[in-house]
Every structure is written in structure tokens, then in C-alpha cells.
């Protein structure tokens, strides 16, 4: 009879309990849609997204310059046709915002109201603030490795000039705008508002 080695005597590792194991649960077949993927993102680094939040004020400034350039290009968009410009602009937008914010292309960007932290990265896709499940260390209840999107959003908004926008109640997401360009939509709306104003100012009373 052989003596049991110390490793045989050691108790088997206890199975993990609770919702802390989102990643592992996902690996067992839990639902992981393309847009919200606990497992994949659990392993990914959030360095760039967190950098963007830390530099929310800079990005806010950059965005405002960029938006006015886009608005100045309104005649060009009109010549090309907003519908025809959609595909290439969407491609660029997805690339740029994908790198900077892990953008999910909801098509109705509210980064300016959320401290440059994309709310669609929240597993519950909350657009109005953090849920009640945020861990004491500021991480997500569903994805324990990820800092809560809304904890970061609050930090980011505190540095921004128009950070108070985070206090506005956001309407529900219009799912029919998914995968479309938010930049072009905002530009078209701004151009329409500008032209409307000009028309009103120009009209003799």
C-alpha cells in the first residue's frame, strides 16, 4: 500500500458561487450576444477606453471642433447625398469610436452626456446611470473584471465643461438606428436647425 501524497490529501477546490463568476458561467453556455459579451470582454483590457474617460475634457474639446467642421461640410454632404455618405462615414465612425470608446454603434451617440464612457458597454445597456449592483470596488456586478461604465462616466463628466448633461433623462434607445452614423444624423439636425434659424432671421416681419 502506497502512502497518499500530500496533494491527494488536499481538499478539492470549492466550486465558485454567486454571480461573481460571470465569465465562467458564460463559458458554460450562458447567452453571449455579439453586442454584449461578458466572457470576451472579461479578458480584454480596458486601457484605451479608460484613457478616453480620463481625458474626457480634451475629447469634448476635440469633438466640438470636429462637429463644427462636419457642419461646415454640410453642402458637401448634401451634394453627395446623406444617404450615400452613410456607408463610408459609418465605417470611419465605427473605427474611430470603436478604438477610443469600444463603441457599439447604437447610432444615437450620447458620449457627451456620459463623460465619454460609452453606456452601451454596460451589460444592461443602461443609459441613465448606474444600477444598484455596482461592487464596492467600483466594478460591474455582471462582469467582475470590468470597471463599472457609469462609475467611470461620473468621473469623466466631472471634468467636462458641460458635464451636467449627465443629469438629463435619456429616452430609450431607438433600435432601428443601430449601425448607422450618429455623426451624420447630428450634422443634418444641426444644419436644419441653423437653416431654420437663418430663414426666420432673414424673413422680414
Amino acid at each position: 500500500m502506497t502512502k497518499p501524497s500530500p496533494s491527494d490529501l488536499a481538499p478539492a477546490p470549492k466550486p465558485d458561487k454567486g454571480n461573481a463568476q460571470a465569465g465562467r458561467k458564460a463559458a458554460t453556455g450562458a447567452y453571449t450576444p455579439a453586442s454584449v459579451s461578458p466572457n470576451r470582454r472579461g479578458q480584454r483590457r480596458f486601457a484605451i477606453r479608460l484613457w478616453s474617460v480620463r481625458h474626457s475634457r480634451l475629447l469634448e474639446w476635440v469633438y466640438h471642433r470636429f462637429a463644427s467642421v462636419f457642419l461646415a461640410l454640410h453642402p458637401l454632404w448634401r451634394v453627395i447625398g446623406y444617404a450615400r455618405a452613410e456607408a463610408p462615414v459609418t465605417l470611419v465612425e465605427r473605427g474611430v469610436k470603436g478604438v477610443l470608446f469600444d463603441c457599439r454603434m447604437c447610432g444615437q451617440c450620447i458620449l457627451s452626456s456620459t463623460g465619454m464612457s460609452c453606456p452601451m458597454n454596460c451589460p444592461k445597456q443602461l443609459r441613465n446611470g448606474p444600477c444598484g449592483g455596482v461592487r464596492a470596488n467600483g466594478h460591474c456586478e455582471v462582469e467582475p473584471d470590468m470597471p463599472c461604465v457609469w462609475v467611470k462616466a461620473w468621473e469623466g463628466s466631472q471634468q467636462m465643461e458641460k458635464g451636467d448633461a449627465i443629469l438629463a433623462v435619456q429616452p430609450p434607445v431607438n433600435q432601428s438606428l443601430r449601425e448607422t452614423s450618429s455623426w451624420l444624423r447630428v450634422t443634418a439636425a444641426a444644419a436644419q436647425a441653423r437653416d431654420g434659424e437663418a430663414a426666420r432671421a432673414g424673413r422680414p416681419t
Partner: protein, 355 residues
């Protein structure tokens, strides 16, 4: 129109008893019903019976913790049939805006006078992590949706309702999770979206709650919203530890666990801690009531409410017949009456025309 226990008072948005109690400035008590994993209505009735005469409203939870149970709509249907005052919870996890708006109308038609709008736990927390998380709305847009239905008598799409759902709107707050300084502003957002009362997550850290309430009062929110503090007994130190590490958003300080551990009878001590916390929070300005979550210890709710003395001798809600029941009885009578008349006329024709 829709059958609910009391008459609609001017300025009130529902016919519910809970709204009247809160608006009168009385200290309200609500409790949470543990939903059965069963299709037997008797189980719901039995579980509701232990609250009778001790609470102003019974929360019918919507698959809390993403664990599947009898639906909140079903529980509310049973409770209103018996004349109880349910608070129907709606979570955004399982249904999209189409289903939710339909449920709101159905619930209001059954006499549900209180609706609590929640985001809901992630599906990963529950017993079926493979389910698809919906989250079409979030708690804020859900509040706004129901408010629009009630105040403007229309769906989110703008289509008109012939009778709006007369409901008292609630939401949840958790002052005990980060980002702590954003939490009071989040309550402000919820009030803006339509919340008239809020129930908090388990409160075990009274100083933390007091700091939160200070900020809430500074923002002037306490006047616009009735705040009910979530409390509950812990069965043992082990349970408390388990809940702390496994239930999202519950904050239990070490001192509470140490006090439980040091007690000879941990269950009794758990109840005593709960009563002590009630007595502390009821003195905080801006607190309008308590919400007792005694999961699997529902039979102690009456004792806790009694011993804490928060009701001051008031006997909240007696079971009352729903006025809608009279309508149903009338219709049944009419249906029966019609049939009898038919038979009579048939007999008459038969008598007049013998073969």
C-alpha cells in the same frame, strides 16, 4: 373606472391605499412576498396572509435575482382578487417596451394601484444564465413610459388610450453602492422621470444612509418623493456573509456580522438588529416608511413591525372588496339571467306550438 379599493382623491394619481397613507404623512410599511415556484394560487394566498393587517403594500417581485418564479402580473392578479394591495414590480430584464406597456394596462385593469420600476439583475446572476437579457428600456425610461401612459393617456408611440392606468409610481434606490456622490442625483433623475416613492436596498449602514439623506434633503428631493428604507432580518452571520458576497448591491458592514456572530441566538439577534435599524432610520428627516424584506422569514414581519412600534397603533389596510367585483358579479348575473329568459321564451314558444 378600473377597480381599486378606494375613491380617487383630488391630486392623487392612484386609488391605492399606499399613496393615501404616504400623502397623509403617516409612516408606511411595505413588505416583500416571496414568490412561489408553483402554479397553486393557495401558496400565494398563504404567503400574503402573514402580512395581513401589518403592511400597507405587498411587493410582488418580478423574477428577482434573475431567478424564475411565478410572474409578478400573476401574483398581482391573485392578490387583487383577494383585496390585498400589491406593489407590482416590473423589471426591464425580460420584456421589451411592447410587452411592458401591455402588462401595465392589464395590471391596472386588475386593480393594481402601485407599480415599482426596476432595471433588474443581470441574467448571469440567476438560475438560467443562458437567457437573453432584454433591457430594452432602463428603469428611468420605464418610469417615464408609465408616467406618459398615466398622465397623457397614450402609449410611448403616441397612440391614445381610452382609459389611462391610474398608478402610483415607484422606483428603487441603492445609496450603498458606488459612485456614492452620484446616487442622490440619480434619485433626482428618477423623480424627474416620474418616481413618486422609492424603496431602498437593504440598509445596514445607518451612518452612510444618513449622509445620503443629508444630500437628498439639500437637493430638495425629500419633498417630491416618499422614501421607504429597505430593512430585513438576517437569519445568521453565515447568511449575512453569503448575501454580502453573492447578492449584487447589498452592503453589510463588518460590525453587523460581528454582532450576529457574538450572539447566543443569531436568529433572534438578527431580528433585534433589524428593529434597531428601523428605530434609527425612522428618526431621519425625509424618511416616509420602511420596506421589510424578510426573505424566507416572512412570518417575522408582523413581529418586527409590532416591536419597532412604527405604526403607532395604526392598523394598515384591511382586506376590502374590490368594486370591480360587483361589476363582474353583475355581468355573471346578466349572463345567467339572459339564459333563463331564453329558456322561458323557448318554453313559451314550445307551449304555444304543440306538435
Amino acid at each position: 373606472m378600473s377597480g381599486s379599493p378606494v375613491d380617487l382623491l383630488p391630486g392623487h394619481s392612484s386609488r391605492g391605499r399606499l399613496e393615501q397613507v404616504l400623502r397623509r404623512g403617516e409612516f408606511a410599511v411595505t413588505a416583500e412576498l416571496n414568490p412561489p415556484d408553483s402554479a397553486d394560487p393557495e401558496e400565494v394566498y398563504a404567503r400574503a396572509a402573514v402580512f395581513e393587517g401589518w403592511v400597507d403594500g405587498i411587493n410582488a417581485v418580478d423574477a428577482s435575482g434573475a431567478n424564475c418564479h411565478m410572474s409578478s402580473v400573476g401574483i398581482c392578479a391573485l392578490l387583487t382578487r383577494m383585496g390585498y394591495a400589491p406593489i407590482m414590480q416590473i423589471s426591464c430584464r425580460d420584456r421589451n417596451r411592447i410587452a411592458i406597456q401591455g402588462d401595465v394596462l392589464g395590471a391596472a385593469a386588475m386593480g393594481v394601484a402601485n407599480i415599482l420600476c426596476l432595471t433588474g439583475d443581470g441574467v448571469q446572476a440567476g438560475d438560467q444564465p443562458g437567457a437573453k437579457p432584454v433591457f430594452d428600456l432602463d428603469c428611468m425610461s420605464l418610469l417615464e413610459t408609465v408616467r406618459i401612459m398615466r398622465d397623457h393617456a397614450k402609449f410611448l408611440s403616441g397612440r391614445k388610450l381610452t382609459a389611462p392606468p391610474r398608478v402610483f409610481l415607484g422606483a428603487a434606490i441603492n445609496p450603498f453602492a458606488p459612485p456614492y456622490d452620484f446616487r442622490p442625483y440619480r434619485l433626482a433623475k428618477k423623480i424627474e422621470a416620474g418616481a413618486q416613492f422609492v424603496q431602498s436596498q437593504y440598509c445596514f449602514d445607518v451612518p452612510m444612509f444618513r449622509a445620503y439623506m443629508d444630500k437628498v434633503r439639500d437637493l430638495g428631493l425629500a419633498e417630491h418623493c416618499h422614501i421607504l428604507v429597505g430593512v430585513g432580518p438576517m437569519a445568521s452571520a453565515r447568511t449575512a456573509r453569503w448575501i454580502r458576497s453573492n447578492v449584487p448591491g447589498v452592503h453589510i458592514p463588518d460590525a453587523i456580522i460581528a454582532r450576529l456572530e457574538g450572539a447566543a441566538d443569531q436568529k433572534e439577534e438578527g431580528k433585534q438588529i433589524c428593529i434597531d435599524i428601523i428605530n434609527e432610520v425612522k428618526e431621519i428627516k425625509g424618511v416616509s416608511g420602511i420596506h421589510v424584506m424578510a426573505y424566507r422569514q416572512e412570518e417575522y414581519v408582523a413581529e418586527i413591525v409590532h416591536d419597532s412600534g412604527v405604526l403607532k397603533g395604526r392598523r394598515p389596510w384591511r382586506r376590502e372588496q374590490d368594486p370591480a367585483d360587483a361589476g363582474v358579479a353583475e355581468r355573471l348575473d346578466a349572463a345567467r339571467g339572459g339564459e333563463m329568459q331564453d329558456q322561458e321564451s323557448l318554453a313559451e314558444t314550445a307551449a304555444k306550438r304543440p306538435h
